[in-house]
């Protein structure tokens, strides 16, 4: 009696993205990725229903060692498995849904902003927002942050991130106390600090000290592996929508409502326009549904579903490739997918 045919399948949480020169296989459950050759992607796509022996035979056994090496790599590193019942392991759909029109928000502020934080957070909560990042360009004490964060207590917003200037007179214990008091705070970045270092609180919140001064929104837009998001939610969103601007609403330091503070368009002021009204305006969501597949260079990049996009600081798409797409590559990205190298030169500073 013959054995049933065994075919190779990637685990449903493992997704492959093909680039111009090489590909990546991402384990979206464990947050890791490895590079694989484009030929292996071809094998996975074109010979999905063949056994390993049948695949080798399809190439007249001229590449048996290479084919063995490729599949051993995937199996050995926990990306896939052999099965005689592949129909029992359907792929993970790429659909992405968020239960609300807004998933994340930026609130830029300085000492003159005078935002009504309680009113803004209540509106964000109503819109389904789950992450709010406060970006302060002038110093606010932990006591002032405590007052603002207290306004979040009656919301369902589970993630609050703080970016604020370092205050030399304050011991780091004061900041740790603030973070410990407010479990919603998932990260605290203190810029303009005397040194670069990291601390971790008992609740595993990372406090980052950086010497870099952050004086305005122009410091944003950097595309770098440190910002890669390798998880099911971010990956599926990136295949369907923009990996930065989708589901985002922002308040600039003057109180104007926008998709992103670095984009020029404004959609009213928080004093007389609700966030929901701003969101309903024509063109507010103009970038929400665009993916990296419509961006020059990025559409050929193996990282396009795990990196963060930027539409505020971009290159001219006509200069990027011979067949430009509708949108230009973020100028804060130094990666060249055609050579698989990072070029030198500053990103957005």
């Amino acid at each position: 009696m013959s054995q049933p045919k065994q075919v190779f399948r990637l685990f449903a949480n493992c997704k492959v993205t093909e680039g111009a020169r090489r590909s990546v296989v991402c384990d979206l459950w464990h947050g890791r990725y490895d590079f694989i050759p484009n030929m292996l992607v071809h094998l996975l796509n074109e010979h999905a229903d063949m056994s390993l022996d049948e695949i080798k035979a399809a190439y007249d056994h001229e590449h048996d060692d290479t084919i063995d090496e490729y599949y051993h790599f995937l199996e050995g590193n926990g990306y896939g498995f052999y099965t005689s019942e592949p129909h029992l392991f359907p792929p993970l759909p790429d659909t992405y849904r968020h239960p609300g029109p807004i998933s994340n928000a930026i609130i830029d502020m300085d000492r003159q902003s005078g935002h009504d934080i309680e009113k803004i957070l209540a509106q964000l909560d109503d819109l389904g927002c789950v992450a709010v990042q406060f970006r302060a360009y002038e110093a606010f004490t932990p006591g002032e942050w405590h007052s603002m964060l207290t306004a979040a207590l009656t919301t369902r917003i589970p993630d609050v991130q703080l970016v604020t200037p370092y205050i030399s007179e304050l011991a780091s214990a004061e900041w740790r106390k603030l973070v410990n008091t407010h479990p919603r705070v998932s990260s605290l970045s203190l810029h303009s600090a005397p040194d670069n270092r990291k601390e971790e609180t008992p609740s595993q919140v990372e406090i980052t000290f950086t010497t870099q001064p952050i004086t305005d929104h122009s410091h944003c837009g950097v595309v770098h592996p440190a910002f890669f998001s390798i998880n099911i939610e971010a990956y599926t969103e990136a295949t369907q929508a923009n990996s930065c601007l989708n589901g985002k609403i922002s308040i600039d330091r003057q109180g104007y409502i926008c998709n992103c503070p670095s984009l020029p368009e404004r959609y009213g002021h928080t004093r007389d326009t609700s966030l929901r009204e701003a969101l309903a305006q024509k063109d507010f969501a103009r970038y929400h549904s665009m993916t990296k597949d419509s961006v020059s260079v990025c559409s050929d990049c193996e990282f396009r579903y795990i990196c963060s996009d930027c539409r505020a600081f971009v290159q001219d798409p006509a200069q990027d490739t011979d067949s430009p797409k509708a949108y230009g590559k973020p100028s804060g990205c130094n990666y060249d997918p055609y050579t698989a190298t990072y070029t030198s030169g500053p990103a957005v500073s």
Partner: protein, 69 residues
């Protein structure tokens, strides 16, 4: 105010621990670190909220260090 709401915060946190998925208790420390969820108590309700970082960067204005790359 009901008896339920008078409970000190830490009691709610301890109860919340029991609401974690069973698999959490079988995770290695490294896996727990990866999956960390902090639990908070919503004022004036008995609802428990799982806190945790958003799936992707809200913005990339936060500087990174070479070690985080």
């Amino acid at each position: 105010m009901s008896e339920e709401k008078k409970k000190p915060l830490f009691e709610h946190l301890n109860e919340a621990k029991d609401k974690l998925p069973v698999y959490y208790h079988y995770m290695t420390p490294a896996e727990k670190s990866e999956q960390v969820r902090r639990i908070t108590y919503i004022k004036d309700t008995t609802e428990v909220l799982e806190c945790g970082p958003f799936a992707r960067p809200v913005s990339t204005i936060i500087p990174f260090t070479d070690e985080s790359a």
